[in-house]
Subunit: 723 residues, 2 copies
């Protein structure tokens, strides 16, 4: 049964008393948080009173998108067509949307537009000519569209339709999704089906999904998207694909979403057009200049290139004895004439087996700081390793001072349970953004660094690896949608709280009933810590199985490179566990400011969150709680499993308030999560027990299976595995 009608009939049923199985509400999640549903009385009348007509600025592709969104939303909420007054005459309940240029009326309202910049908006209830109206105003068409979505969110989250007073402007310039989508349709680390880009029917066929993708991103203020995997096929730069990418850019443009592409550094030679891709070779420089000109011919407002170079087998300037700066600057020079941006990833390691992988990115790029062109941005993962359930912040934030930094988060849960595990990333993002690097004294938070408040940045930005695929609900699970949402909201304002954003998401995704909202927000806020507890407590990291990263593999030690092995990170032996990164160890702490280094050197700092990241300690190491580390570890794993059990109980209590399709999916996923949390706990404790030669602590149940059993578990077809 389809969605809007079943909602409508639920309301009808309340009046007429008729009801049957077939009228049951069911939802497939496709609408995400743009979930406009028929309102029940008295809410419906209140909204209808405040939204009697639309008065819109002169048509443009973006204003048309704004008009369509308002029409679509209120048609669905009021189940009636709200008229658009073309003559511009206003009435009580008129909703005015426009800029001073496209709707002169806006100028007359003297709204605080001067502070809003090129993307900001304000939405206000006010009286004009004795008429009570709502104004959605901005300096630009895209600002108006953002304002429309802000107004809709206000309504969707239960705000008073007659009392609106919203004003906001984004705090970061570039707010990007990175798709790790391959040209063959697979998605690296994707757990939501295929790539949503159907390269084969583009450019002729525009799947409605492309438009909805742009709408959804605009609704949370994202303004750029990198279409293809950073492990980039050179083919993306062929006309065959550029024509297709250009069509997507055309579809996205009205929604303020710019297209970027990942490029393979060896494209000139890989495409067979030159003998080399040496950035010092004039022919190579010229090739990139010409190719970039082609790209801009296809996509006049093209955003720029994203590059993964000399990392995990990708080609790069190092192949020719050139530095990352020489490579990046060559591409930056090709982009500069067109106003394009070059985003270079700092995710490199494996320089030599002796060094601590956690130190390599900064060691590599610190000496280059200040040598990059103006239009180069360095994209840095949030932590020094690789999107682990928990990492200390990357030392690059605070130490790279003369090159604009773009934060790279990962929305897709490569290391966090993938499809099924419920882990709301808001608190994890918040932990990183609010972290004080002390780079310029107290208050030098990562958020302020990204905003350019600590070090001058011409351009600011944030990016995240998307979790989007062809699954009907886009993200392979209802709660995975929240991670796309929270990233967008924090990209717009890195100082928003995970809890406030979660509350909006729950209201828009399910219902604004207070008890329901409180219960689900509590589940979400605790979910990340719960996952850390059953996977990698106390600063443990990279304990995952090989290649697909699905499930535990703390014992893995035979991989070619030392830093690929979980044992490299846990360093567990009969005496103790943990990676000594202090001065007498790898001295990674020295990469942080003295204040931060001193705290990391204290094993008990930060509630022992980073204990085993920075310290190798004996199994009997006394924790703040009084337990030994061995006891504490076992307790944390248990706590994680218990946390999932609590989520299951919470969810079960909500059954009457959720449609069956989404309820059952979440329920089934929590069941998987609970089983796998036990797997994580038992497999890790079985290994650490064997390694330490210690029985499990008092009162702790033996693992369900032997260590050999856990070691024997292998999957050949795990999803998202590039291998």
């Amino acid at each position: 049964m389809n969605i809007l009608l079943s909602h409508l009939l639920t309301l009808e049923a309340a009046k007429s008393g008729q009801n049957c199985a077939a009228s049951a509400v069911d939802e497939d999640g496709y609408d995400l948080w743009l979930r406009y549903r028929p309102l029940a009385e008295p809410r419906r009348s209140a909204v209808e009173k405040a939204v009697r007509a639309f008065v819109l600025g002169a048509a443009s592709p973006t204003m048309t998108a704004a008009r369509e969104e308002l029409e679509r939303a209120f048609f669905a909420m009021l189940v009636k067509c709200v008229p658009v007054l073309d003559d511009g005459a206003i009435c009580d309940g008129a909703v005015l949307a426009g800029t001073p240029e496209n709707l002169p009326l806006i100028s007359a309202l003297d709204l605080p537009l001067s502070d809003l910049g090129k993307e900001g908006y304000c939405v206000s209830s006010l009286t004009h000519d004795g008429k009570r109206v709502t104004a959605i105003a901005a300096n630009t068409d895209i600002g108006v569209l953002y304002g429309c979505f802000a107004f809709l969110r206000h309504i969707q989250t239960g705000g008073d339709p007659a009392k609106v007073d919203l004003a906001a402007a984004p705090k970061l310039d570039l707010r990007l999704l990175n798709h790790w989508d391959n040209l063959d349709g697979s998605v690296e680390r994707g757990y939501a089906g295929y790539s949503i880009w159907d390269w084969w029917t583009l450019p002729d066929y525009v799947n409605k999904r492309y438009i909805d993708y742009a709408r959804v991103n605009a609704s949370i203020g994202l303004n750029g998207t990198v279409l293809n995997n950073v492990n980039a096929a050179p083919d993306i730069l062929s006309d065959f694909y550029l024509e297709k990418a250009a069509k997507l850019a055309d579809v996205f443009r009205p929604y303020g979403l710019k297209v970027f592409l990942s490029v393979n550094f060896a494209s000139p030679s890989a495409l067979g057009e030159l003998a080399t891709s040496d950035p010092a070779d004039p022919a190579v420089k010229q090739w990139w200049k010409d190719k970039t000109r082609d790209v801009y011919r296809w996509i006049p407002d093209f955003g720029g290139f994203l590059v993964k170079a000399n990392s995990e087998g990708q080609p790069g300037p190092g192949d020719y004895g050139r530095s990352h700066a020489e490579g990046a600057n060559m591409l930056a020079d090709a982009l500069a004439p067109h106003g394009g941006i070059l985003i270079w990833r700092s995710f490199v390691y494996a320089s030599d087996p002796g060094t601590d992988r956690a130190t390599e990115a900064l060691s590599e790029f610190k000496p280059l700081d200040g040598t990059f062109r103006n239009n180069v941005l360095l994209q840095v993962k949030n932590g020094p390793i690789d999107f682990q359930p928990r990492e200390p912040v990357s030392p690059s934030f605070g130490q790279i001072t003369e090159t604009p930094l773009v934060m790279e988060f990962q929305i897709t849960k490569e290391y966090l349970g993938q499809t099924a595990h419920l882990a709301y990333l808001g608190p994890a993002f918040e932990e990183v953004l609010k972290f004080d690097t002390h780079a310029r004294g107290p208050g030098s938070t990562v958020s302020r660094i990204l905003k350019g408040e600590i070090f001058p940045q011409k351009v600011t930005g944030i990016a995240a690896v998307a979790n989007i695929g062809t699954d009907r609900d886009w993200t392979g699970g209802t709660f995975n949608q929240a991670n796309w949402y929270v990233f967008g909201r924090m990209a717009w304002d890195p100082d928003e709280t995970a809890a406030a954003i979660a509350e909006d998401w729950v209201k828009m995704t399910f219902t604004d009933e207070a008890g329901f909202v409180r219960t689900v927000v509590d589940m979400m806020i605790g979910s990340h810590e719960t996952l850390v507890n059953y996977m990698m407590p106390y600063g443990l990291h990279h304990q995952v199985a090989t290649s697909h990263h699905y499930g535990p593999g703390p014992w893995v030690s035979e991989l070619d490179r030392p830093e690929w092995n979980p044992t490299y990170y846990n360093r567990a032996d009969e005496n103790g566990i943990g990676f000594n990164r202090l001065a007498n160890g790898s001295n990674a702490v020295a990469q942080y400011s003295p204040e931060v280094a001193a705290k990391f050197a204290d094993p008990h700092a930060f509630g022992e969150r980073y204990l085993l990241w920075f310290h190798h300690v004996p199994w009997d190491f006394p924790l703040t709680c009084g337990k030994t580390l061995w006891e504490g570890l076992a307790a944390r794993y248990d706590k994680g499993v218990e946390g999932v059990a609590q989520m299951i109980a919470s969810w079960e209590s909500l059954r009457p308030q959720v449609d069956s399709q989404r309820f059952e999916q979440v329920r089934a996923f929590l069941k998987i999560q609970h089983r796998e949390a036990q797997w994580w706990r038992d497999a890790c404790l079985a290994y650490f027990s064997a390694t330490s030669g210690r029985p499990l602590p008092e009162g702790h149940a033996e693992p369900a299976h032997t260590l050999e059993y856990y070691r024997s578990i292998h999957f050949r077809f795990a999803p998202g595995d590039p291998a």
Copy 2:
């Protein structure tokens, strides 16, 4: 905007006059032909009068499915809940659905149940106790479910709800889909996205799509599905996957859909459990007995195994010097105690470079005919080569007389334009099924052979390679849905006509407006011949590009095996073109009955449809139409391109009657098809012109590009490519 509501509002708008863009009807194709929509008056009242209440047989999983389908359908069509009378009391407009056992009332109606067998049904309007009712009756619950779908189709296609008189039973026992779905989620030769089986969240999570898949198949009478690719990963037989397959079997069971699995012949050794997979080895025999018992422990009503052996690199008994019969019989013996069936594919070739590939399947299996166990069926592709746009029927039909044959059709359009090309396969299936093999005199049609009317068959069956994936509309395009539909209908009754089935499909998929139906049915009926004309006219075959089979490659001649090369099939040179399969050639004609062989030996027989399949003729060969072959070829290619242009014109004329989403997709796909039809024509004529040393015939435009250009076209990421 969602589907049912927008339909509903279109009706409302007609009354209230209100209307706006947001209320426009839009469709995403997910419902396929089970597209229940609010009815307009006076139709609505007529249906409501005839469907006032349901009286259903005692609940069972299948009867519950029947009840839910009736409730869902009439709720959507009448926009009201039709009550279920539990007390069994009947009233005017009651719809009675059941068997004599689960609804005693049915016995009282003395309906002709005796002819209906285990799966048949009858649906009749009648008067009982002075009440005008509709009876949906059968001998079994599944028969009742099929009857409900028949009743719904009657309503959907505009039948009088008060005058129903339907009775039918399937003419074939096994009606199977073959999924070429890999365990990693990819689909070999799949052009509709990912595999719909999410092995990773099974068995915990039952995606609603699994249930809808079963509903849809039941609605056309399919009763079995092979879940995985015939190029089978041995892993499918591990408990890890069997548990997941068992969950799907549980979901499908109420809908009469049995699960089958493709198995890898080398599983015992490939899974590392035995040193060999030699079918003569007692340990191997025992392994299969044990494994098969496990399978039945997981799936008590498991259908059986499908095997591709010693074909295209797959392992088989030949690897151990055993015959196909020895291999098949070993598996058949393992299945027999459980009532399981072993389906062995006859698709083998490459015995030695000298032989004509077209003859190999029969040469291999004819000597084995009669040596197979009773529960072995031989699955034979419709033609001797491999699902070409047009092939003469496989000689196995008529020559294999003591082994039950299962027809293997291909619904996914591997060689027929893949995603975008509109090619309704009904006429192609019909051409094969109605073909007279003369195996036992005139009238020995393939249809009658399949039904066991020519040679005794204990079990009869038909199968087709599915075109189903995770695309929202299931098949990657609206008209691809029709090929799933027509296969199901012809599997139920191989004697139905493609035209009658197309008419039902159009009415159920779009509208029953007479002019619309006529126009679309005409498009569909002509579409296959149009495709043959622009791809491979006059019996040309296998002229496709390498590996992905996307686009033309008549010049390809360098592949390892001769029979992989298009030049092997076209044999074009300066003198002529075509494959001589007459007595003075490969003598493939000798594999057919004398009557058929004689006709094939006549180049002009069958309207010259098979001319170049059986004959190598000079370029100046005179065709019946008076043209030379070279002129005729050029004319046919043109006719094909022109046919696509006509479909475009027809479709454009229907714009007012189709929702925008489906209209635009079909329009875009036809545009692609038109461009690619020209590509096929120009590339093939450029090659044949160069080969024959002849300019294009008088009045025929030169190809748009040079032959070198066409030869230079390569794709690295074409969909569905197993390479």
